[in-house]
Each structure stands twice: as structure tokens, then as C-alpha cells.
Amino acid sequence: MQVQQPKYTGLVADLLPNIRIMQAIGHFIFRYITGPILIRKLYSSVTLVLFLFQFVCILINLGANTDEVSELTANTITALFFTHCITKFIYVALNAEGVYRTMGIWNQSNTHPLFAESDARYHSIALSKMRRLLFLVTLTTCMIAVFWTTLTFFGDSTKLWKDKVANETIVVDIPRLMIKSWYPWNSMSGTFYYISLAFQLYYILFSMLQANLSDVLFCSWVLFCCEQLQHLKGIMRPLMELSATLDTYRPNSAALFRSISAGSKSELILNDEMENEKNSNYDMNISAIYSTKADWGAQYRAPTTLQNFNGMNGSNPNGLTKKQELMVRSAIKYWVERHKHVVRLVSAIGDTYGLALLLHMLTSTIMLTLLAYQATKIDGITVFALGVIGYLLYALAQIFLFCIFGNRLIEESSSVMEAAYSCHWYDGSEEAKTFVQIVCQQCQKAMTISGAKFFTVSLDLFASVLGACVTYFMVLVQLK
């Protein structure tokens, strides 16, 4: 018997591939699935235990090799690297409710017949971008894991050990593994070596994927908001033109009531069809947006104008029917409600993921400082050099990923004001002008994601991190 797949709507449907992969690699996300939850919980718990075990082994190795400075630095960098992964894993586990809540904010959105086409277009753009991002990040992470494994098989598999008795540094052999780690078994050779190798490969791949995919989830949310803002900006001009038909005479007002979106290529719907449409679907769309009479009642000073709809209406120079007028007034309401919806989603994203970003930045700052120190010791294209550069690029790329999306959100949200201003508001009705004024006032403050109120996620943050890194490197090179 085939179980009916539940239909997911809204953000969940768009992000389903991301969620599925996250569930597959062991994140503690147990909604949006069919089937027994217990097995999944078991799987996630086992993954958590294995990861913590490996992390503790790395820490034990760190503790056991504190005498030699270069070993200490290298081990600390490795430990910090995997701190990211553990932190993100535990953070998502503890904050799963926040994730569900954020997803739930956009499970249904309002629609308007005039703007449905633009909505669908930007939605599909967002969807394709999100898929592309997911694919790229997953591919890059897998490639990094492969690169790391390959690099292990080059160069000497040794470590420096400070012999306390002779008070000198000697070179000691260690197992040829990706991460320098202590194991309760002897992993120098034999079956245990292969077990350790396989375990480390699993660990590296899965923990990097975990950390990166939760960042991708965050970036996808932000991407979705940006595309919604693009949609809103796109329909601003048709909105103004529509509202202008209420007050000023427009020769082509009939054409406006065709399916309007900026640059659309869809079929034109004749004005007569619109007028004769009496199906409940159409009415329901409107009534879903408008529920109280008071919404447009305030506009009219003389109540008699409401009753008279035969032919040329005194207050309407274009002879719009009642239905058309209703559509125009509902258009502004659609715009405002959609914008409020986006604002709500952005604040939910900030609340859910802000703390994770703060923790990420704290770990990264320390790691980058240590990497700058290690970088001063590079003296040629060796395995060491490649390793250090690899770590550096990876850390910077992670920060760059969420900074660039945060920055795009800031830019998009502040450009709404410019779009509102540039859309010939002077042609619009009085109601539209007030609406533009309030929107401009609100959009002067860009929508930002803040890392638990400590910093704003933007390219400025990335620039300051990069700048600090370079400064430390320069200073340390001077000190040598």
C-alpha cells in the first residue's frame, strides 16, 4: 500500500533537498518526514556519540603534545576547526524548534491575481539559486575531503617531540592519518590502521558537511528573502500605475488590467473576461486579502459615491468597475502584507541563527590568528604549506559565504526605498502617496541579520576579519 506523501508548501518545499541531506548526515531535525522517528533519533544520537568521541580524541592528542610549540599550534588549529562542526551540530539540535518556526513563517503567503506571475517568476529564480548553492557547497566539501585525504599520503608522516631528558626536539613517527589524533588502539599499521583511516574519512566528510549545510540553510533563507524583495520592487511601478487610474485620467487603463508584471510574456487577459469573471476563486482571492469594510471606508468622504456604479463615476475618471477598483486597492494591501511577511521572516532568521554565527566568528577569530602565526613558518611548497593555506582559505570562505548573503539582504532592503521613490509616485492616488511615504520611512533602515546583537553580518565584517588576519601576519613576520 502506498503511503500518501504529504505535500509540503512554502519554504519547506523549497528547502526539502537541503533538509533531506541534513537529516541523512545526522542532524537532529525530525520534522517533515514520513516514517518512524525513533530510528532517525537513534541514528542522530549515534552520529553525535561518534563525533564527540573523535573530537575528544583530538583534544587528548592536543593535551599530550603541549611541549613543542609548533605541534601545539597545529593541534589547536585542528581542534578549533572541528569545534565549528560540533558547535553547529549541537546548536541545530538544541535550536530545532527555532528552525521549524522559521520554516513555518512562510508556509503560506498571500496572492494577488495581477502579480501572481511576477511572484512565480522570482520564486523560481530563488529556487534555482538555492539548489545551485546547495550543489556547489556539497560538491566543494566533498572535494575538500578528497583533497585532504590525498594530501595525507604525501610528505613525511611525523611529528616533533620534545625529549625532556636530552632537552632537544626529535622527530617521531606517527600513523599516516588525516588528523593527528589519539586512539585507544594502536593505529600504526594493520587492520586498525585501515579502520582509523575509514573512520577519519567518514568523520571529516560528515562533520564538514554538517557545518556547511547548516550555513547553506541560513544562506538559502536569506536568498529567499532577497528574491521576495526583488519581486516587491518589481511590482512597485505597475502598482503605482494602477493606483493612478483611481484619480487621474489614463488613456490605456484597460491595458493595465491585463496580467501585469514587469516584463511578463504571458497571455493577455481581455478586460471583458475580467469583468465577467464571477467564479468564487477570484472572489476568494480578494476576500482573503480584504476582510473588513473599514479597509477602504476611510477613503471616502461622501458615502454616496459607493452606491453609484453605473457608467461614468464622478470620482473615477477612467470608468473603472467596482471590481477593478477593488483590485487596485487590494494591490497596495498585497504589497504591504507581503513586505511585512518578509520582515517577520528576516527577524525570525536572525533570532534562530544569530547565536550560531556569533559562535562561529569567535572560533574563527582565534583560529585565523593561529593560522597567521603558522603561515609565517612557510618556507616552500610543502605539505605543511598546502595544509596551512587550505585551512586559511576554508575558514575565510566559510565566513565569506554568510557575509555575502547578509550583505545582499542589506542592499536589497535598502534599495526598496529607491524603487518606491523612482516609480512615478506623483501620478499615484493620495492613498498611494501616503503608502510610498511610509514604506520609504521604513526601508531607510536596512534589514540586517545580527549575530546575537554583537555584530551585523555584512561584507564589512568579512573585510575587518581579513584585515585583522593580514595585520597579524605582517606583525608576526616582522617579529621573526
Binding site: 473588513t292 501616503t434 520611512q441
Partner: protein, 437 residues
Amino acid sequence: MESAYKFFGGEVNTKHPTESFFLQLWYLKRLGLWAPETDNKLIQTLYTIWSYFYRWFFLYLYTFTQIMFFTDVEDMMDVAEGFFLLMTQITLLYKVEKFYSNRHRIKACERILRSSLFCPQNEEEDAVIKESMILTFTFGMAFLVPAVITISSWAIMPFFEEKMHLPIAAWYPYSTENPWIFTLTYIYQIYGILMSASFNVSTDTFASSMISHANGQVQRLGIQLKKIGYSDGISNKDMKKDLKALRANYMTRENKIVKVDEQMKEINKKIDALKEKHGENYGEVIRCIVYHENILSFCSEIQDIFKGPIFAQIMASTIIICMTCFLLVNQSSNPGAAASSVSYLLTMVTQILLFCWIGNEVIYSSYRLTEQAYFSNFQSFDKKAAKALILFMQRVSKDINIMAGMIFEVTLSLPSFMGIMKSSYSYFAVLNTVQNK
């Protein structure tokens, strides 16, 4: 945190927000900084005498002995040792005197918090005020606990050294060789330092708690803003129910029907007149604007009273942090002394962090006001109400910054906290280099 609050005897009743100051007021009343509310002249005079005596004996005399210590210092280490506590003391003197001279204004601010305008009207607002109250208590504890740990470690330290010497570096006109005199002086020192810590905790956390309550009020304003325009179409029955609930709020206050106070009555009268003339929405927007004005004047009053002390504290803390780090690095390895230095460092950092953190919260809450005004049902407003809303949004687009300082002003926020830490570190680095030369 809430359970700890209740454990210490606090009442989480959002109609009495100033009850959250119980920790601070307990100290302030006993230290002579919070006169009782009586008309009895005798009690007032007695209280004034008590406060003067207390301050003179335990603060001024105490600090004097510490200053005299500098008459025979030898090297940088001695200076650092004497200095790091002296800085706190001198700043404390300034803060306490400012608090005492401003005590009437501070009491007025506390009364403002109890006014009807600042009283939460429904559950959502209750939650916000409750948060402020618990935060007030948390600040007190967050500062008190490290302070107590530091003082106890200083008190115990002399017992672990070969030659017993007084924990605080100070000069006395008599010799402290005699064990009895030594014990008495020791007790005086420890009690003095306990008193100084109490003064510090109560005055500082009073300031930051006031700011935290201001933060709660800003959030309350946001909640009210979001609701404007959505009450259209409420039937008479609903309105009556709301009014009844409103009256019920006041009925539970000491089981008497306490009316709204004069200020609120005036405001209500004005708003009702406006609603008659220009419409329901206009009246509601103006009500929010009036409330915002009151919050702003409260914030600027708090800022005016406390900006000197907070700035002095920040300056002192910067220097103290650098001195303490210096001592930590260069002192002979004495784990007891190191531990007490670390806890002193922690206390100092906490002191600045409290101010900067709550200032940051206020900035963020006021930042959100524009957005919350946007969430009102402004599409349904008529032109007058919309214009009023636009003017309001224009005003709130500027965040509420709590500043500290006289000529040179510092905004209390987390970035400025990071700046303070950085400058502390650079002074320490310079000092260390000078020492190691």
C-alpha cells in the same frame, strides 16, 4: 534566574516593577543613601547624620589611609599594588557623592517607573516588564558574586603568608605589630572593603537596572505600536471587556481600587478629545507618541544623572584592568594572590560589561521601533493619522543611545566595550614593556 529571584524574596509582580530593586534598595537603605519616606523631621535628620557618619568613617577615612600609603613607595610594583584598589575607592567616592546629591532626582525616576503610564496593560507587555525585573536582579547578582569572591579571597590571603600583613595596602599612624591592634585594623579593613563593595554594587547596578527598565518600556511601546489600527470593528462588548480588565488590573493593587494617576488622566482626556475630532487611529498614534516622549525624557534624565559616574567607572576600570593584568604577570607566583587578582579582574570587567550590554539592548530595542510602527494597520489610516505616523517614524529612526561622559562621550554599547578592552590591553602592553626593560 526567576527561581533565584524568588528565593531571595523578590516579588515578580509586574504592577510593581520597582520591587525588582529589592536587592539594591536593601543596601542603599542601610548605607544611608535612600532616605525613608516619612514626614517625621527627627527620623530624616537622624538618617542624614547616619549617612554622613557612615560615609566619612568607612569611605573617606579609609581612602585617606590608602592615599597616605603612597608617601613611602619604592618601585613600580608597589605603585601598582597600592594603585589598583585606590582607583576603585576614589571613583567610588565620586559616584557615592553624585548619587547622594542626586538622590531626589533618582527617587523621582523610581516614582516615574511606578506611574500608570509605565504600567503594563496586558499579558504581552507583562512578559516584557517581567524580563526587565529579572534582569535587574541578575545584574545585582552578577556584580555581587565576583565582588564577594574577591573580598573573601583578600580576607583569607593574609593567613597563608609567612608574615601576616594587612590585606589592603594602607598607612596607619600607629604601628600594627601588636596582634590586637593588627586584628582590629584587619577587621576595619575587611569591613571597609565590604562596605565599599556594597556601595559600588548598589549604585552601579541601580543605574544599569534603570536602563533595563527603560528598555522594557521601549519594548512595550513597540507592542502598542503593532496593535494600532487593528481595533477597528471591535464591538462594544469587547471594549467593555477590555475596560473591565483594565479596572481589574488596578483592583488587585493592594486590594483597593487605585485610580489611574493624574498624569495618565490628563493624557487620556487629551487623547479622547483628539479621537473625537480626528478619528480613532489618530488618537492611538498620538498616544504612542506621547508615551515615546515620556520614555525619551526618562532616558535622558537617567543619562544626565548617571553619565558622570558611569564614565568615571569606565575610566577607572580601564586603568585597573591594565594594572591588575600587570600585577598578575609580574607578581611572584603566589596562587592565592593570583586567584584574587583574577577575580578582581573579573569584577571590573563585569562592571563595564553590565553597562555596555544593557546600553546595547536599548539601542536594538529602539532600532526595532520603526519596524513595529510599520506593522500597524497603516493602510487603513486616514491622511491625518498616516502623517502623524510618518513623523513618528522619522523620529524613531534615530536610536536611543545612552551616553556616558562629560566632555568626551562614550555610547554604551558592545562595540564600545570591545574598544575599552582593547585600550586596556594596549596600556598593559606598554606598561609591561617599560617594566621588562
